[in-house]
Amino acid sequence: MPRLLNRIIEDAALRGPDTPAVRCDGVALTYEELARRANGLARVLVATGLARGDRVAVWLGKGPDVPVSFYGALAAGGALVPIDPRSPLEQVVGILRATGATHLVSEPDRRELVGKALAAWPDVTHVIGLDMDDEMPVPCVPWTTVREEAADAPPGVPVIELDPAYILHTSGSTGVPKLILHTHYSAMSFVEWAASEYGLTSEDRITNHSSHHTCFATFDYYAAARAGATTVILTPAVLMMPASLSAHIERERVSVWYSVPAALVQLSLRGDLEARDLRSLRWVLFAGETFPGRHLQRLRQQIPSARFSHVYGSTEVNVCTCYHLPQSEAVTGPLPIGRACSTARTLVVDEGLQPVPDGEMGELLIRGATVMSGYWNDAERNRHVLVRRPAAGGLEDVYFRTGDRARVRPDGNLAFVARTDRQVKVRGHRVELEEVEGALLSLTAVDEAAVFTVPDGEGSSALRAAVVLAASGEPPTERELLDDLRTILPPHALPSEITLLESMPRTPTGKVDGRALGAHAAAQADDGE
């Protein structure tokens, strides 16, 4: 049987038609209903001209329509482009334009925004999920029609596992997000590994914590469905209120959790966990950032039933190494990122891409089944990050350069050391400092900008900016600068504070003095307490 993502729910619907595929805010959708609705959407997409490989952008808030859209786009032979529901309009238009999306799946709540996006990017031919009206420049097919089209069988578009499955967007250093193409093969390689590694079954209830445009969601949706398990979609309201979240976990009998550490730190500090019965939780997976030791230790004591797994990877390679914390044993010292998954090979290399001896630091390269095809329409970057190394038989292997510096520890586990560039993690979100500086510099009032991180007090980082204003014009306030930035950057990339400076501190060589800026920020924090 071909390993296609959309086949997952066909199988699940055959094996457990009445098992809930998703649960969200009291609404449940069984596998049979999900498959039928996805088939309905696929039929609508094909009938409105979608051809194999065409891009289907999905711009939705969290909810049961998300998996319907995912599987529907895939069953129609399309390449799925999930959009961060919190992305500002400008970024959404940039993604539509860069991927050349012909179909957009959305919802009535976003009607006005969709209209604006289509005005800026007219190549979308059809919108699914909105009622037709005269103001919309292209034909619309409402969700009611999609439901009327629900069918037992998909439209039968021939797709092979090496065809594109989805394009995910993540931080980019130039203002345009990086667009990462995965095939059915690379996606399924992760899905099958994850379902097997964590022993997922149809009894499991797996949270969807992260936004559905991230690689975390490939676990929450596809790996869950591969096992016929239920995905419990966590809505923004539940995620913002830790005590409600923990009550939800208890009520929904969640068994597997996957998120960034920051979400778990918040749950541990403010989730009232002592008042909850969380014995259903058997696996807690976290990735994206280092889990601060004392917070992790406390969380493990709060949820003694669960095993904890530190998984490592990036949107480009999905998960490629993992470290399962030893049960009922405190972990001292920094947490390793573990060993290569059964889908991957790891290699630590020097600047000439030659392997370094174990224990020495170098850049981590990944070769494996879960590695992306490449960045969409970015041959130059692909040449830089997908490198070839000689292999047996006069052939070559392709490796992905992670940009992470790592070393092999004496116990055989890999340890993450640092980045080779200015990419940082802000509460688990990937942010390129250049991107934020570029956004600031795009404002006419800003002459110079430097962006840096400071500790956020909960084991992660917060973004800070320092700017020198242009001499001409009415000087804006910090608040006005932030409001302007909001129209360019997603919420996680916004500096939490912007300091206005007379001049930028510089080192004797003329570089921005990051240390002086950090010290300045720390001194201000002291004054404030």
Partner: protein, 98 residues
């Protein structure tokens, strides 16, 4: 620091919270009323919600407990007002001093 003895009126709490939202947290052009859903993700992000909770605690002299971080308490400005009044009535001001 807002830790006066009396339990504040709901309208007064709402007004102070709304003013703070407008001043510090909302994007330009965004308007909220007493019943606007604050936690939908469209109005505030998660960091803003934490700042809002910290403001409410300081402004009305409440020591936030983990069990206070619920949707019921923070879903709207009027819900926050009820929460503040309930807590202020139940918890003696001296026990909420930091």
């Amino acid at each position: 620091m807002g830790s006066e003895e009396r339990v504040p009126e709901a309208a007064e709490v709402e007004q102070r919270v709304l003013a703070y939202l407008q001043r510090e947290l909302l994007s330009p052009g965004a308007t909220v009323g007493g019943d606007t859903e604050l936690l939908s993700g469209a109005v505030l992000d998660s960091m803003s919600v934490l700042r809002l909770a910290a403001f409410v605690a300081q402004e009305f002299g409440i020591a936030l407990q983990p069990s206070d971080f619920t949707i019921d308490n923070f879903q709207s400005v009027s819900a926050i007002a009820q929460y503040v009044r309930r807590v202020r009535a139940a918890r003696a001001p001296e026990s909420s001093a930091r």
